[in-house]
Each structure stands twice: as structure tokens, then as C-alpha cells.
Symmetry: D2
Subunit: 129 residues, 4 copies
């Protein structure tokens, strides 16, 4: 099942399809799950992981919202889509930078996912507006 | 990037890992995007799609919540996880049944995704508690 | 600003307005914030609050989804609305029961909010379908 | 039940409590419900409301995320909180501008809610960092 294919079927899309935005939406949803899982795993670790937990939760909330905004193609909401993609990049980079400070394998995986999601949002931004 | 692998790294998981719950979480997030995209595409169609739009939005909200609950492994919240998975099955089946009434390709794809997500939640339920 | 008044303006509502569902939606959104705040405060406490954190996060996710489903009045999605309200009651009761085990004032306030939200969902259920 | 009081009970808050951020979080959750309700009501209107529907949905998603990020007080995530508040202001202003073009009472009420939410986010921004 491909969300890229799904969006291409939208009656308004036609030649105006941006594969990059669809991919960013898909990865942002996955990143939201990774961050939620990392925050949850950090909560179960014996050492103080509170800042990492906080940043993971913020990033998860922002990624979920970004994905839903990015998937829509009815009409246009360019200024808002751009702002949300840019915020998502900042949330992902901040979360990755914090996760990279820790030795837990789940933090490393989460950081990698966040960096990829930020890259996808940057690529998507080029095709917006 | 695999959420199944991510969850396996949770310090409390060990041998208690349920691949089925992780997969249900991943597909529920994708199903949320499909439903959001289908509702948005239906809004742009010329005929009356209002019931389909409503059911897609409800399903999207429920899938997102289900995925986040399903991904957590710190402590246990079995009764709530079971109830949310069962509600997700109902939301997905109701959305699929409505989408299948329409000829739009995006509705068909959304229905298929919803049926798969419902199946994944049923498989996950067997492994909970 | 009253969401009850807002929903009453929906073109399909007319005499079929349920004040109880509107109130449940409003309180579920507030309960989602209380649970998110309680989980965050628990993370900053020095003792082991991990189960409380988990249940608060699950409850927050479920309350947000329930509120959005409950607010819609276009067409009908009765089976799904009922299932989600019932799941929300279970999530709120489970979260309240865990929060009541702890002496933190934020846990007590969160428990009170969760019990109220569960009551509102029960009252709403009577008016659905 | 007051989220402002709730946040004040966070162990890290002390004298650093920002009433403005707490209020912005509370109103953003209410605004998310108003936008969801307005999108749903617009779907049931006989005329073409598709752009309004889209902007309401985007605004709802962004308000929910903003509220959850704004409510957290463990550690600091200032750059991300500022970016999300700014994006929320843009989403609310864009949604209000579109809603104000229509004669529906629900659109007018939604526009008023969005303008208030944008104002609250601006007031909150002054106290961040």
C-alpha cells in the first residue's frame, strides 16, 4: 500500500503531484511512532532521560500534524504547509541531536529516523509553492 | 527503518516482543494517512461524498491514537490497549464498507488499506494480555 | 467561546443536538492536556512513575481521538462513536486509578479530570444512537 | 478544572510559570475542536466549501500539536516551541481569513476562535525563552 499512489488519485492532483511531499508525509508518520517508542523506552531506562523524553514527545506530536497537513491536496494552504514543514525540520533536528548524546540503541535508531525525516521535509519544501 | 526493530530495543521487551502489535501500529499510522487523503480527495469530488468523508476522518483519528497506544511497552495497559484495538477494527471496517460503495479509485485503495489494518489489529489482539 | 454553541450551528443538527456529546468532546480535549501535563510532570519527579506516565500518555491519545470523533455531526457513525466513547471511559478510569496511587498534587488533579471525563462520556453514550 | 493550575504543580515550574503558555495550550485545544466542527459543518453545506474545509483541518491538526508541545515543562525545547507557536499563528490566521469569507454562522464563530487562538499564541511567544 503506497500513500504516494493514493495521493496521485486525488481529483485535483494531475500533473501537480509532488512525490516528495507524499514521501515526507509517510516518513513523518513513521518518525512519530519512532519518537513515541523512544520516549517510552527512555522512560523505562534506569538513568535520567527526561530531556530526551520531552524532545521525543514534542517531535512525535509535530510529525503527526505535519504528515496530515502534507497529505492534503484540496485547494492550497502553501504558507501554512511551508511553516509546518520547517517546524518539523527543527523538531526532528533537535530530537536527533539529543538522542545522539545517549548510548541506547533505541536513541540511535530514533536519531537516524529523525534526520531522515528532516531531510525528507527539506526535499518536500523545494516542491511546495 | 523498522518500527518492529525499534520496539525490540525497549529495555522491558526482551522475549515478550509482539511483532503483531508493532506491525498493527505501523499499518494504523499508514491507514490514518490513507483515510485523511481519501477524505480530502472526496471533498474535491463533484458528487455528495459527505458520509464517506466523515467516516474517513473518524477512522484517521482512531488509527492515529491506536498506533500510539500500541507502540508503548513500559508497564502494561492491557484492558485499554484491547479496547482501543477493538474500536480501531470497528472504525476500519465501517470506513471500508462505506468506501466500497463508491467508484473512486482512492476510495477502493482506502477500503483495502482499512481492511488490512483491521486484520492487523485482530492479529495483534491475539497476542495482547 | 462555546463548542456546544458551535455544534448547534451545524446545518444537519437542528433538534437532534446532543449537549452531552458536545460537553464530552470539550472535556476530553481538556483531559488530553491534563494527562499530557501529568505525564510530563511525572517524568520530572525523582521516584519511579513509569506506569503512571504510560497510562497518562495512552489516555491523552485516546481522549484527543474521542473528542474529534464526538464533535462530528455530518451523517452518522454510531457504532464507531459508541465504541470510542466506551474505550475513552476505560482509558480514563484506568488512568485515574493509577494516578490516585500517588501523592503528587498533579496526579490527584489528573485523576479528578479523568473521572469527570469518564462521567461525561457515559452521559454522552446515553444520547448516542 | 484549570490546566493553568495543573501546570503550576509541575515539579520543575516554580517561579518560572508562564500563565500565557498554559492559556495558549488550552485555547489551541478548543480551537482544534472548533476547526474540526467547522470543517464537518462545511461538508454538510450545499455550496462549495472545499478550501474552507481544507484550512480548518490543517488548523485543527496544528492546534492539537501546538497545545501538546506547549503544555510540557520538563527540560526545555525553546526553539521548537517557538517555531510551533509561530506556525500555529499562521494556521489560525489563514483559517480565520478563509472562514470570514463565508456567511455561515459556524464559519464566523470559527474565525473568531482562530483569531483568539492566534492572539494567545502571540502572547505566549513573548514569555518563551
Amino acid at each position: 500500500m503506497s500513500i504516494e499512489k493514493m495521493i496521485r488519485l486525488h481529483p485535483d492532483v494531475g500533473n501537480d503531484f509532488s512525490e516528495a511531499i507524499a514521501t515526507a508525509a509517510r516518513h513523518a508518520m513513521l518518525c512519530s511512532l519512532f519518537c513515541t517508542s523512544c520516549a517510552d523506552a527512555c522512560t523505562a531506562e534506569p538513568m535520567d532521560m527526561r530531556l530526551c523524553i520531552r524532545m521525543c514527545h514534542d517531535c512525535a506530536d509535530i510529525c503527526t500534524a505535519t504528515a496530515h497537513v502534507a497529505v492534503r491536496r484540496t485547494g492550497q494552504n502553501v504558507v501554512v504547509l511551508r511553516a509546518q514543514l520547517e517546524t518539523c525540520i527543527q523538531a526532528c533536528e533537535a530530537c536527533a541531536a539529543e538522542c545522539e548524546k545517549h548510548d541506547h540503541e533505541h536513541c540511535r535508531l530514533c536519531a537516524t529516523m529523525c534526520r531522515e525525516c528532516a531531510d525528507d521535509c527539506r526535499t518536500a519544501l523545494v516542491t511546495v509553492g
